[in-house]
Structure formats: C-alpha cells, structure tokens
C-alpha cells in the first residue's frame, strides 16, 4: 500500500530496554522526520533526514538514535528507554523542494510508546 507506515502502533516496555520504532514510506520522498507528541508541547522534532545516510538532530534528540540506510526506511531507536520517553511518536516525510520551499509533510498514524 502506498503511504507511510509506522510499526508497532503500540508498545509497552521497561526502563533501560532498547526499543526501535519503524517507519517506511513508499513515495521515495527525500526528507523524513521523527516527532514526539506530548500534552502541552505539541509536536517536537527529534531527528530528521534529508536523504539516505544523511541525518541531523532536531529539538529533542537526546536519548534517541536514527539511521537511514535506505531512502524508504527511517527507524528510531531508544537505546535505553526512560519513563520520560513515554509519548506518541510520529514519522513524517516530504519531497525535496528546498528551493521553492513548497514542502508538505505527510504523517504516519503514530506509535504510542509506554515506558514503565
């Protein structure tokens, strides 16, 4: 199916465990993003990627690791989960229209992570 898919949709884990959230898009969009959504904070950018093998930090990168070996995949890893990382995580993608600025973000359905 075309679109952007996140997995798992729901995950419960324990403090100190490693967790990986997967994101897959079928449009060959250049840009991919990870956001977390918390009450009162809206969406905050964790990491983003401009292309395969190019990633950069967003507003709240601490405690997270990303990789992008293929254009279509952008996994987010919590190497040692903490309770403060309990959140809803959204993956998004957009085309590369840097010069026109006419990018539009398209979101996945989200992954709800609970860290006990």
């Amino acid at each position: 199916d075309a679109g952007i898919t996140q997995s798992p949709r729901y995950k419960i884990t324990e403090t100190g465990r490693q967790v990986t959230l997967m994101c897959h898009q079928t449009w060959s969009h250049s840009y991919m993003f990870w956001y977390r959504q918390d009450l009162g904070h809206g969406l905050r950018l964790i990491y983003y990627s401009a292309a395969a093998d190019i990633t950069d930090k967003g507003e709240v990168p601490d405690g997270y690791v990303v990789s992008r070996s293929k254009t279509e995949n952008f996994p987010l890893t919590l190497e040692s989960a903490t309770r403060s990382q309990t959140s809803v995580y959204f993956c998004a993608s957009s085309e590369d229209r840097a010069y026109s600025g006419a990018n539009v973000l398209t979101f996945g359905a989200g992954s709800r992570l609970t860290v006990l």
């Binding site: 809206g42 959204f90 600025g101 539009v104 973000l105 996945g108």
Partner: protein, 111 residues
C-alpha cells in the same frame, strides 16, 4: 529562532457557530504556513497551506485561513462548525526543510 504560538489550548463552540483558531509565528522572512488537524488516535492531516500569493487560502472540509504579515498571524476559520470538526488543530511553519509546530488547540463542539 522560529516559533509558533497557538494561544488557545481549548476552544468550545456550538455546532453551526463560526470558528476562528489563532496562530502567531515568529520568523524573519516570508514564511510557509500550514494548518494540520488531528482526530483522536490518528495522525495529522493537512488542512491547508500558504506559500505565496493570495493571503486568503482555502482548504479541505470548508476551512480557510488568512495570512496577515503585519500581525504575524495565520488564523484558521470556518463559518459553520460541524460536530465532526471536533479535533486538535496544529499550526506549523516551514523553514529550511524543517517544520515547527504550535502546541495545538483542542476544539470541542457542543450539540
């Protein structure tokens, strides 16, 4: 640094009433502006966008927004709200391939 402010955390309107959700941004150049809507348990869906040109833009579901440079605002409006419009609404600014979001306004619709 860019910032987006949505001053209203919650708004309640009666079905059929008009709606205006406020958004102010802080950005030096001409911004690219967006409104997204999030229904409960769902991802975010694009309502409308402003890149340039006419400052009044039309979106899906009967929404419109007006860009006012002098007020650094991009308020979202709808003339007659439907119960299905109950959701959370996010304003966003795009700059250098990053998007900055406001904290959201949750809309409740009374019957």
């Amino acid at each position: 640094a860019q910032s987006v402010t949505q001053p209203d955390i919650h708004i309640t309107v009666s079905e059929g009433a008009s709606l205006e959700l406020r958004c102010n941004y802080s950005y030096g150049a001409t911004p690219y502006l967006f409104w997204y809507v999030q229904s409960p348990g769902q991802g975010l869906q694009l309502l409308l966008k402003y890149f340039s040109g006419d400052t009044l833009v039309q979106g899906i579901k009967g929404f419109e927004a007006e860009f006012k440079r002098s007020q650094s605002s991009f308020n979202l409006r709808k003339p007659s709200v439907h119960w299905s419009d109950a959701a959370e609404y996010f304003c966003a600014v795009h700059n250098f391939n990053k998007f900055y979001f406001g904290s959201g306004t949750k809309l409740n619709v009374k019957p």
